[in-house]
C-alpha cells in the first residue's frame, strides 16, 4: 500500500492504495466519484477522461499513485456554484448525448480542447475528440455542442432535425 494525497474536485483526500490501482478505480471505488466511468480496457474509448492539473487524461491510463500531490477534476467538479460549465450546457442544448455513458469523458475532453484552442474549426474539433468514442450520436451533435460552447453557433438546433446556422467567427 502506498499513501497518496490528492485534491479531487476541490476536496483534499488522503488514502492508502495498492500501487497497481488505476486512477479511475480510485475515483469510483474509493471516492464514490461514479460520474467517471470505465468503457474499455485498452485506453481507446476515453469514457474515463478527467483533468489532471487541468490537462485531460484517460484515468484508466494513470495510476492512482501518479496522481499523488496533484489536482484531479472530474465531471462532477465541473459545475461551479450551482452553474453548469458552458460545455455541459452546450451538450444539453445541442443534444450532444443520448445514453450518456461517453458524456463525462467527452465533456472533459471538450473542455480541454477549448482550453487549448478556443475557436476550433470543425476539423480541429473532430481531430481533437478522436480519442473519445461515442456509439449513439454519430458525433454530429457532439461537434455542434463544441461549436456552440465556443460561440460559433447561434442557434444550436432547429426543428428540421439537427440543422444549424453558422455565425460569423467571433
Amino acid at each position: 500500500m502506498t499513501r497518496i494525497n490528492v485534491t479531487v474536485d476541490g476536496m483534499k483526500v488522503a488514502d492508502d492504495v495498492e500501487p497497481r490501482m488505476l486512477l479511475v478505480h480510485y475515483l469510483r471505488e474509493r471516492l464514490g466519484k461514479t460520474g467517471t466511468v470505465v468503457g474499455c480496457d485498452t485506453s481507446n474509448c476515453g469514457a474515463c477522461t478527467v483533468h489532471l492539473d487541468g490537462q485531460s487524461v484517460k484515468s484508466c491510463n494513470v495510476l492512482a499513485v501518479q496522481a499523488d500531490g496533484h489536482e484531479v477534476t472530474t465531471v462532477e467538479g465541473l459545475a461551479q456554484d450551482g452553474h453548469l460549465h458552458r460545455v455541459q450546457e452546450a451538450f444539453r442544448e445541442c443534444h450532444g448525448l443520448q445514453c450518456g455513458f461517453c458524456t463525462p469523458g467527452m465533456i472533459m475532453a471538450s473542455v480541454d480542447l477549448l482550453g487549448r484552442n478556443p475557436h476550433p474549426s470543425e476539423e480541429e474539433i473532430r481531430e481533437g475528440l478522436e480519442g473519445n468514442l461515442c456509439r449513439c450520436t454519430g458525433y454530429h451533435n457532439i461537434v455542434r455542442a463544441v461549436q456552440f460552447a465556443s460561440g460559433h453557433l447561434a442557434a444550436a438546433v432547429t426543428a428540421g432535425g439537427g440543422a444549424t446556422e453558422e455565425v460569423a467567427q467571433a
Binding site: G35, E76, Q88, H95, G100, E127, I142, G162
Partner: protein
C-alpha cells in the same frame, strides 16, 4: 445547412403545442453532471464481486478444473464450476423457434463438459473485491481436450466439422416464404426462367460481415438476494423479459423477482438478451445469500456478448430489359454462432418481409438456412434482419440500373409503389399503410444537388482524376413497431408485442406516467412527457416518466425494434384518454353541469357556452380528497392501457451519399450525406436528429470499417477496441437531414419508428457510392467493410477485393519497426506480411 419544415400537426382538439417541439432532454441534467446510476455504480453492504473464467478454445472438451489455488487466494469466498450448480441455475432460452423442427443445443450459463465458443464461461469466482476476484480467476486451472472447430459459415454448411457433434448437423432450421404458395404473388422460378429468355437476370452473392454492437457501457449485473424479493439490477434493454426468463428457467416464482434496468448505456440490440452472466450472478447470490456484482471488461464484452449480422446472401433478380423487376429469389445462410440466442433465427427471418422493400415485385421467394458454428452467438443488432435485406435489394437495384444503363433513381422509380397506391399489400404479405417515395426522393435530390454532383463525377471520369467521385442511392423502407401479437404468434414467436402504460394523477398536480418501454438513451422521459403534456394539457415539467423497474412498471415488453414510441407511446395516449374519461363525470358533478355539456381544452373542462370550468389537476385533487364525488365513482383518476398494434409501421426515406475514392491508395472519404426520412409525425425533432445521425454512423461503419474477425481456430482477432474499428469523430462527417411527412394511419399520433432507420438505410448508400466511383474500372462489387486494401485490390484484380484474413486492420505499420500484428491467422512473423 438543411432547410427546416413546418412543425407537424399539433393536437388541436387538446390545444397542445408540445408535439413537434425540439424540447431539450429531461434526462440530460443528470447525465452531463455525472449524477448517474449505471449498474456498475451500485454498491451494497456485504456485496461480493464476480469474475468469470472463460475458455480460450472455440471447441473443446473440459477434462478437469482445478480450483484449489483460487479458493485459497486472499478475499475469495467461492469458486464454482458447472458441476457445482443444479438445474435451479436455469438456462438461456430461445424465444423464437423459427420452425417446429429447429435444432437448438441447450445453452447452460456455464459449460460443464464441452466448450462451444471461445469466451464461454467455465467457472465463476466470488471475492471481496473485483481485483481479488480477477486475480483468483487467473489461478483456476482448466484442462481442455481441443476439438475441431467450425468457424467459417460456408464450411459449416457442409457438415464436415460439427459445432455440436451431438446434434449431428450444423443446420439449425430452414425457413421458407414463397409468394406463389402464400398467394401474394407469382412463381419466382418461372419469372427467372422467363427473364433468361430476353430479359435481365442478375445473380449476386453478398456477404453481410459479422458486427459487434459495442454499446459504450459494458454489461453489468447486481443481484441482491436479501429481503423477500430478489432484486436484479442489469444493464439490459429488457427488464421484463429477463424477469420472465429468470422465473421460467430457475423455478423462482416470478413474484419473488424484481428486475431493474437503471441508467443503461446504449444497447442497439446488444442488450436484448438473457445472458449467462445474469443467470450466474442470480445463482451465486442465491447460493451465498449475499449481494453480488459482475461487470464485464470490454474484451469480455467483445468476445462473449452477442454479435450481429453474419449472413451470406445469394440473390437472383429477374427483370425486363427496361428494368422492371419480375421476380426476386433470396437464398440466405445465417450464422447463429454457437447457440440459438433469444431472438436467434428470428433475426434473419425478420428480413424476409423487407427484401421487396418499396417495390412492386410480382414474384418473390425467401429461403433462410440458419447454421451453428463455434463462434460467439449472434442475435439482434440495430435493424435486426432489415439492414441485411435492405442492403441486398438496394445494391441489386444499383446493379440493375447499371445493366439497363439508366440512373439508379430512374430504375427505382420504374419499380416503386407510387403514393396513390397506398395502402399497398406487398409480395411478402405486409400492408404498407402510407408513404410517399416520390416526395422524399425529390427533396433528397434537391438537398444533395444531385445533378451538380453527377456532372462533377462525369468531369472527373473524363479527366482521369485519380480521385473518383461516387454517388450512392438507398431508397429504403423498414417494418418497425414490433409487433402485432397475432403476427408474432403466426411466426411462432414466444411472446406478444403489446405495450402497457399507466398514468397517475397526483393530488399535487403532478403526473406520473409509467411505461413498459425501457429506455437506454432514446429520450423517452422527454418525448413521452411531451405527448402527455399535450394530451392532458398539463405543463411538460409536471410530467414524470417512470420506467425500467418491474416493481414500478409491472407490465411491459421493453425497448427494441423501434417500438417504444409507436407501440409504447400509443399505450400512453390511450391511458391519458382514460384519465379524461374518468375525470369527466367528476368535473361535471363539481360544476353542476351535464357531462354532455363539457368540453376539454388546454387542461380544463369547460361548460359549453359559459366561462365556467375546472382544471384537470383540480379534478385530480378533488378525487383525492373524495369529499364530494358522484356516487359509484373511484377516488382517483388513475388509468392504464395496454395497446397491441394492429400493424407494423413503415418509415421510409431516400438517402444519397457521395464518396471520394482515391484509386491509387484505395482510401474512401465521405464527401456528403443527405437523408430525407419519412417517419410520420415527429414528436421531438431534436431527438429524431440524434437517432438519425447515430443510426447513419452505425450503418456507414458496416460499409467502411467494422468487422468481427476470427482466425481459423475460432479466436476472435478483433477482441479489443484496438482491433475492432469503431469510428471516431475524425472518421465521420456532418450530415444533412430532413423529413417528409406521411402520417402513419395505424396509431393516433401518426408516428413511425426512427431508431433503426439510419442504420438500415446508410450501409447500401455508402457501398453503392464506392462501387459507383469504381464502375469505370470494371468493378461491380466491393465486399464490406470497404477497406482501402479491398478497394485497391478490386480496382487492380477485379472481384470484390477478397476476404478478410488475419488482422482486419493492422494497427502497427511495419515501417515503424514495431513488431506485432500483420497476420495472426497462421502465426507468421510480421516480416512475412506485405504492408
Amino acid at each position: 445547412m438543411t432547410a427546416t419544415e413546418a412543425r407537424p400537426d399539433r393536437s388541436p382538439e387538446f390545444g397542445g403545442n408540445e408535439i413537434g417541439r425540439d424540447r431539450r432532454r429531461k434526462e440530460d441534467a443528470r447525465l452531463i453532471t455525472g449524477r448517474t446510476r449505471w449498474t456498475d455504480n451500485i454498491t451494497l453492504p456485504g456485496m461480493l464481486h464476480l469474475a468469470m473464467v472463460r475458455s480460450p478454445f472455440a471447441h473443446a472438451r473440459i477434462t478437469g478444473v482445478e480450483t484449489a489455488a483460487a479458493k485459497d487466494s486472499v478475499g475469495v469466498v467461492a469458486v464454482l464450476t458447472g458441476a457445482d450448480f443444479d438445474e435451479s441455475l436455469g438456462v438461456c432460452i430461445n424465444a423464437w423457434p423459427i420452425t417446429p423442427d429447429q435444432k437448438a443445443p441447450t445453452h447452460p450459463p456455464v459449460a460443464t463438459d464441452r466448450i462451444s465458443f471461445a469466451g464461454e464461461i467455465v467457472a465463476v469466482v466470488a471475492a471481496r473485491s473485483a481485483a481479488e476476484a480477477r486475480d483468483a480467476a487467473d489461478l483456476v486451472e482448466v484442462e481442455y481436450d481441443e476439438l475441431p472447430a467450425v468457424v467459417d459459415l460456408e464450411e459449416a454448411v457442409k457438415d464436415e466439422v460439427l459445432a455440436h457433434p451431438d446434434l449431428g448437423t450444423n443446420k439449425s432450421a430452414l425457413w421458407v416464404f414463397d409468394s406463389a404458395q402464400a398467394g401474394t404473388g407469382g412463381n419466382v422460378d418461372e419469372a427467372i426462367a422467363a427473364a433468361r429468355d430476353g430479359g435481365i437476370v442478375l445473380e449476386r452473392t453478398y456477404r453481410q460481415q459479422r458486427l459487434i454492437p459495442a454499446f459504450m457501457e459494458p454489461r453489468s449485473v447486481v443481484v441482491d438476494p436479501t429481503g423477500e424479493q430478489i432484486t436484479v439490477w442489469s444493464a439490459t434493454q429488457i427488464p421484463h423479459i429477463l424477469r420472465f426468463a429468470l422465473a421460467a428457467t430457475t423455478g423462482v416464482p416470478e413474484s419473488k423477482i424484481r428486475v431493474i434496468a437503471p441508467d443503461v448505456g446504449g444497447g442497439f440490440g446488444g442488450k436484448l438478451q438473457q445472458t449467462p452472466e445474469e443467470m450466474l450472478a442470480f445463482a451465486v447470490a442465491r447460493r451465498l445469500g449475499k449481494p453480488v456484482k459482475f461487470t464485464e471488461t470490454r474484451s469480455e464484452s467483445l468476445m462473449s456478448a452477442h454479435h450481429g449480422r453474419d449472413q451470406i446472401q445469394k440473390l437472383t433478380l429477374a427483370a425486363t430489359k427496361d428494368g422492371r423487376v419480375t421476380g426476386l429469389k433470396v437464398e440466405l445462410t445465417a450464422n447463429l454462432g454457437a447457440y440459438v440466442a433469444l431472438v436467434g433465427g428470428g433475426v434473419p427471418v425478420l428480413g424476409a418481409f423487407m427484401f421487396n422493400a418499396i417495390y412492386k415485385f410480382p414474384a418473390y421467394q425467401f429461403n433462410c438456412q440458419t447454421v451453428l458454428t463455434n463462434t460467439t452467438w449472434t442475435d439482434a443488432y440495430r435493424g435486426a434482419g432489415r439492414p441485411e435485406a435492405t442492403y441486398a435489394i438496394e445494391r441489386l437495384m444499383d446493379e440493375l440500373a447499371a445493366e439497363v444503363g439508366v440512373d439508379p433513381l430512374e430504375v427505382r422509380e420504374r419499380n416503386w409503389i407510387t403514393h396513390e397506391e397506398f395502402p399497398f399489400t406487398t409480395v411478402a404479405g405486409l400492408e404498407y399503410d402510407s408513404g410517399n417515395y416520390e416526395a422524399a426522393t425529390a427533396r433528397a435530390k434537391e438537398m444533395f444537388r444531385y445533378d451538380e454532383l453527377r456532372a462533377e463525377q462525369q468531369a472527373r471520369r473524363a479527366s482521369g482524376d485519380p480521385v473518383q467521385l461516387g454517388i450512392g442511392v438507398s431508397t429504403f423502407t423498414e417494418m418497425c413497431g414490433l409487433a402485432p401479437s397475432r403476427v408474432l404468434g403466426s411466426l411462432d414467436y414466444g411472446a406478444g408485442g403489446w405495450e402497457h402504460a399507466e398514468i397517475r394523477m397526483l393530488p399535487t398536480g403532478k403526473v406520473e406516467v409509467v411505461t413498459g418501454a425501457s429506455a437506454h438513451g432514446q429520450g423517452h422521459e422527454t418525448a413521452f412527457s411531451q405527448i402527455v403534456a399535450d394530451r392532458l394539457g398539463v405543463p411538460f415539467e409536471d410530467v414524470e416518466i417512470l420506467h425500467g423497474d418491474t416493481m414500478v412498471a409491472a407490465k411491459g415488453l421493453d425497448t427494441y425494434g423501434s417500438r417504444s414510441l409507436v407501440v409504447g407511446g400509443e399505450a400512453v395516449v390511450r391511458a391519458a384518454d382514460k384519465v379524461l374519461e374518468k375525470a369527466r363525470p367528476i368535473a361535471a358533478h363539481l360544476l353542476e353541469a351535464s357531462v354532455d355539456d363539457l368540453e376539454f381544452k388546454d387542461g380544463r373542462f369547460g361548460v359549453r357556452g359559459t366561462d365556467q370550468g375546472i382544471g384537470l389537476t383540480e379534478v385530480a385533487a378533488a378525487a383525492f380528497a373524495a369529499h364530494n364525488l358522484p356516487d359509484g365513482v373511484e377516488a382517483n383518476l388513475d388509468s392504464e392501457a395496454t395497446y397491441d398494434p394492429v400493424n407494423f409501421n413503415f418509415p421510409h426515406g431516400t438517402h444519397l451519399c457521395a464518396v471520394e475514392v482515391d484509386t491509387e491508395t484505395g482510401e474512401t472519404r465521405m464527401r456528403k450525406y443527405v437523408a430525407c426520412d419519412d417517419i410520420g409525425v415527429i414528436i421531438n425533432p431534436l431527438i429524431v436528429s440524434g437517432q438519425v445521425h447515430g443510426g447513419l454512423v452505425q450503418g456507414i461503419a458496416q460499409a467502411l470499417w467494422e468487422e468481427a474477425v476470427y482466425d481459423d481456430t475460432g479466436t476472435l482477432v478483433t477482441g479489443s477496441f484496438v482491433d475492432y474499428l469503431l469510428p471516431t469523430a475524425a472518421d465521420t462527417i456532418s450530415f444533412d437531414i430532413d423529413h417528409t411527412t406521411s402520417p402513419a394511419t395505424t396509431n393516433s399520433l401518426g408516428t413511425k419508428g426512427v431508431g433503426e432507420a439510419g442504420t438500415i438505410a446508410s450501409t447500401p448508400a455508402v457501398v453503392n457510392a464506392v462501387v459507383d466511383a469504381l464502375r469505370p474500372y470494371g468493378v461491380h462489387d466491393v465486399r464490406m467493410p470497404c477497406t482501402p486494401e479491398r478497394v485497391w485490390r478490386a480496382i487492380r484484380e477485379g472481384g470484390a477485393g477478397g476476404d478478410t484474413t488475419g488482422a482486419a486492420a493492422p494497427h502497427f505499420d511495419a515501417s515503424t519497426g514495431m513488431e506485432g500484428t500483420v497476420d495472426r491467422t497462421d502465426g507468421s512473423s510480421p516480416e512475412g506480411g506485405d504492408q
